[in-house]
């Protein structure tokens, strides 16, 4: 279970800005979200991986690992990747 913050541009698919989703990894959460909101996974993934244009914030820590485990209070955000200079 995790608390997923839905990006504003996807909220027309979900009808809501936040949703609690079952799953013990980020991947499992997204797969569960796809069952609730069909089409959402293809917006976030590419070739079954996180889109290279996105990164995750999982409990406010940036990562790209879909295998990151989540707990019932974990917050997940989908953010643009950033590069530094």
């Amino acid at each position: 279970m995790a608390i997923v913050f839905i990006p504003s541009q996807l909220q027309k698919l979900t009808g809501t800005a936040q949703v609690e989703v079952e799953g013990d990894t980020v991947r499992a959460v997204v797969e569960q979200m796809e069952k609730q909101f069909p089409g959402i996974q293809q917006r976030l993934f590419e070739d079954d991986q996180l889109s290279p244009t996105l990164q995750l914030s999982v409990d406010h820590v940036m990562t790209r690992a879909l295998s990151t485990s989540v707990t019932p209070s974990t917050e997940i955000h989908f953010l643009p990747v950033i590069g530094g200079g």
């Binding site: 917006r43 955000h77 990747v81 530094g84 200079g85």
Partner: protein, 760 residues
């Protein structure tokens, strides 16, 4: 200079090495001219390459005829995009942002269309560099010029000429039906902005523009490529990331990484501009074709016209606050140049725009827009300087309108631990409040500024810290010194700050660590030197390697002292057990006689939750007769977490500030109507000289980063963020005129002051 290190209660103040200022390990080489930069290399049998570049900002390439050049004695090979494999249309995440290899290939050598003036179209290798340039002039390219688009607002119009016929806006939303020049659209929302603005007593909305600026490193891009007879490719190059270059080369040339070695030479500056490849693939192809090593070094005008400056931008920022000075809502509309290919820095820009503040309601829309300029790249905190200019100027106006001190206004709204950023994540422990307070307590703030045409300005800024991967190995030598092998190119003294962390963990001196920056065959994968990550992440890897060494030393001691490893203790670099005691050095000497080699290993990919804030305080004087702005006094305060080597932290703060000052006051790509950059030289692309600046005072605040054993935060990038708005706010107080465009160069300032005086 005053460097006041505000005391931090969270980390112990008993370090022996951390916090000291040893002379850097490569220092003697760098001050005697012995350090080897890529252009210093003379590889046996080396020849020279030169590019042919588009004279048009936008043109179809009709034909390329290299025959005349090839007939010249001494000309050994030519190449065009036809010599590069068909690129993958694949987007990869390189750690520092993502790259589309088709676009990268098309940028290295144009396919079908030239998309900016200076876009490389062909290249030639010859026995000397003059001959190469002469031969390049003899390569005949037929172009069909096309209309060019040079600013985001024009490029976003429905009737704008398209750069890429099939570019559909990338968005999480429904994709548009038609192609356009809008490469991506990002959006964030928090709360309800309409409610937020309705609750405000004062609302200010302004439009801002910034010009294209370049990182301005003194060393041009340069590489030597050797395509060996055994099919292995070796490239000596000036790069911030040798592994990232290796990956790009493997993808562009469709070769396995195992056949490519990248040797990072000493580098003369990067700031984000030396991560993407430019001349490396071309030098490689020419070397393959002629069977000799090929050196390509860009001329300075090529660096300006054909590498990766940071975007120009158009921004609209609106903020609302109550009469007590509490921010209620914010709205930002941001359009950044991507340059000729998608993948600009709008993402971080959109994430940073309101990042200094606790804003309950906000929306941000960000657009990455292609147009006929070189493909943009990161320039130290990419995107953040742009948006800070906009936000911090509006904040200044709000504070003034509400008659609230500008620092107090910021303190009332400052992001702290627990503040939720507009893009979503919540801040852990951060140091913005401490930085604002340190400025309030500074001698600079407490010294009144008097005199005509003078003004004082404040601004703050934010940037992320990246983690990413670093690998090191560390070999204990027979004399008790440790050779530290790492892959992080040293652009500013990091080999020393990383060595210091190893030394601290082991309880030895920094002088007893011998850091080496090595090539991609000699060390494990290491991400770029950039992203404010090097001292943090590679330092963390060095710390891990030190712990590994310590474990092995304990085992050696146990063997020598004939006891169990559990009975051996280590404190401050002294090993004790079974009644005996030896320092690290002495134990290393003994272990060398009897034991196996001791090699430590550190591999990290640290998760990163933390961030860096900076605050600037600047006093200016404006000459009403010329519009020239003189910086009278400049103070930068930054949360460094823990300053491993304070001189190098100060150096990053001062250097970034100087770049921000140049960005604010003079630097811009000045384009003619034909889309040509008119000022592609250091004479007219006016970066600050020694004579333009005062001493830059630094205040390092140390609020420890919970993600690092020594509390290190990345420091390299955020200093470039606050100077433009701090200076704009100071100029306002000096002249009564607010500026919404960068640079605030003398003609611009003079015209504005004149206009104000005459009421125009």
């Amino acid at each position: 200079m005053s460097t006041e290190v505000a005391p931090d209660t969270q980390t112990p103040a008993t370090y022996k090495v951390i916090g000291t200022r040893p002379v850097r390990h490569d220092g003697a080489d760098k001050v005697t001219g012995k350090a080897v930069y890529t252009d210093d290399l003379h590889v046996p049998n080396m020849v020279f390459g030169a590019f042919v570049r588009s004279p048009h900002a936008h043109a179809r390439i009709v034909s390329i005829d290299t025959s005349d050049a090839e007939k010249m004695p001494g000309v050994l090979a030519t190449c065009t995009s036809a010599d590069l494999p068909d690129p993958w249309d694949k987007v990869d995440n390189l750690g520092e942002g993502c790259v589309n290899y088709a676009h990268l290939s098309g940028n290295v050598l144009a396919r079908n269309k030239a998309l900016y003036k200076g876009h490389a179209v062909a290249a030639v290798a010859a026995t000397d560099s003059y001959l190469a340039q002469e031969a390049a002039r003899r390569i005949r390219v037929e172009f069909e010029p096309l209309p060019a688009t040079m600013c985001v607002q024009d490029a976003m119009r429905n009737d704008a000429p398209l750069l890429h016929d099939e570019l559909i806006t990338h968005t999480l939303d429904d994709k548009p039906a038609r192609p356009s020049n809008i490469a991506s659209h990002i959006q964030f929302e928090k709360g309800n902005v309409d409610e937020g603005f309705a609750a405000a007593d004062v609302v200010i909305e302004r439009e801002f523009k910034t010009a294209t600026v370049h990182q301005g490193y003194i060393e041009p891009h340069v590489s030597v490529a050797l395509w060996n007879e055994d099919g292995r490719l070796k490239i000596w190059t000036a790069t911030q990331g040798s592994f990232v270059v290796r990956q790009q080369m493997a993808e562009l040339l469709k070769m396995p990484v195992s056949q490519i070695t990248i040797v990072p030479c000493e580098i003369g500056g990067g700031f984000g501009g030396k991560i993407s490849v430019y001349e490396q693939p071309v030098a490689a192809v020419l070397s393959r074709k002629c069977g000799r090593p090929v050196k390509i070094m860009m001329q300075r005008d090529e660096v300006f016209e054909a590498t990766g400056p940071t975007p120009a931008s158009f921004m609209r920022v609106k903020l609302g606050a109550t009469k007590d000075g509490k921010l209620t809502a914010g709205k930002a509309w941001l359009a950044f140049d991507a340059g000729a290919f998608p993948g600009g820095v709008i993402g971080p820009g959109a994430m940073c725009v309101f990042s200094c503040y606790d804003l309950p309601h906000a929306t941000v829309d960000g657009f990455d827009v292609v147009l006929n300029k070189p493909k943009t790249q990161a320039y130290r905190a990419p995107g953040s300087t742009h948006v800070a200019f906009a936000t911090e100027c509006v904040i200044d106006e709000l504070a003034e309108r509400l008659k609230i001190d500008p620092i107090e206004f910021r303190l009332n709204n400052a992001a702290k631990e627990g503040t939720r950023r507009v893009d979503g994540p919540v801040y852990p422990r951060v140091g913005l409040v401490e930085c604002l307070q340190a400025i309030q307590e500074s001698d600079h703030w407490k010294t009144p500024l008097t005199g005509p045409n003078r003004g004082r300005g404040v601004a703050c800024g934010f940037w992320f810290n990246c983690g990413l991967k670093s690998s090191v190995t560390a070999n204990v030598n027979a004399d008790g010194t440790v050779t530290l092998v790492e892959g992080s190119t040293d652009i500013g003294g990091t080999r020393t700050s990383i060595a210091m962390q190893l030394a601290e963990t082991l309880g030895i001196t920094a002088e007893d660590v011998i850091p080496q920056v090595v090539d991609t065959d000699s060390v494990g994968f290491t991400d770029v030197t950039g992203g404010s990550r090097t001292t943090f992440a590679t330092g963390l890897a060095a710390h891990e390697a030190a712990l590994d060494i310590q474990k092995q030393m304990v085992e050696q001691a146990a063997q020598i002292w004939e006891c169990s490893p559990d009975e051996v203790t280590v404190a401050d670099g002294v090993y004790q057990g079974n009644g005996k005691s030896l320092s690290f050095k002495a134990l290393a000497v003994e272990a060398d006689k009897v034991g196996i080699p001791i090699v430590g290993r550190g591999v990290v990919d640290p998760q990163c939750s933390t961030n860096a804030f900076a605050v600037n305080l600047v006093d200016v004087e404006v000459d009403p007769e010329t519009g020239k702005v003189t910086i009278l006094r400049f103070t930068v305060c930054q949360d460094a977490g823990k300053a491993i080597h304070p001189s190098y932290v100060e150096g990053q703060m001062q250097g970034g500030s100087a770049q921000g000052i140049g960005w604010a006051l003079n630097e811009e790509y000045f384009y003619g109507d034909d889309g040509h950059m008119r000022n592609a030289s250091f004479l007219d692309y006016r970066m600050p000289t020694c004579y333009d600046l005062p001493m830059i005072d630094t205040i390092i605040v140390e609020v420890a980063n919970p993600d690092h054993p020594y509390g290190v935060r990345g420091v390299g990038e955020v200093p470039i963020v606050p100077p433009p708005p701090a200076i704009a706010n100071a100029i306002y107080r000096a002249t009564g005129v607010r500026f919404f465009e960068l640079p605030m160069s003398p003609p611009t300032v003079w015209n504005a002051i004149k206009g104000q005086t005459t009421g125009e």
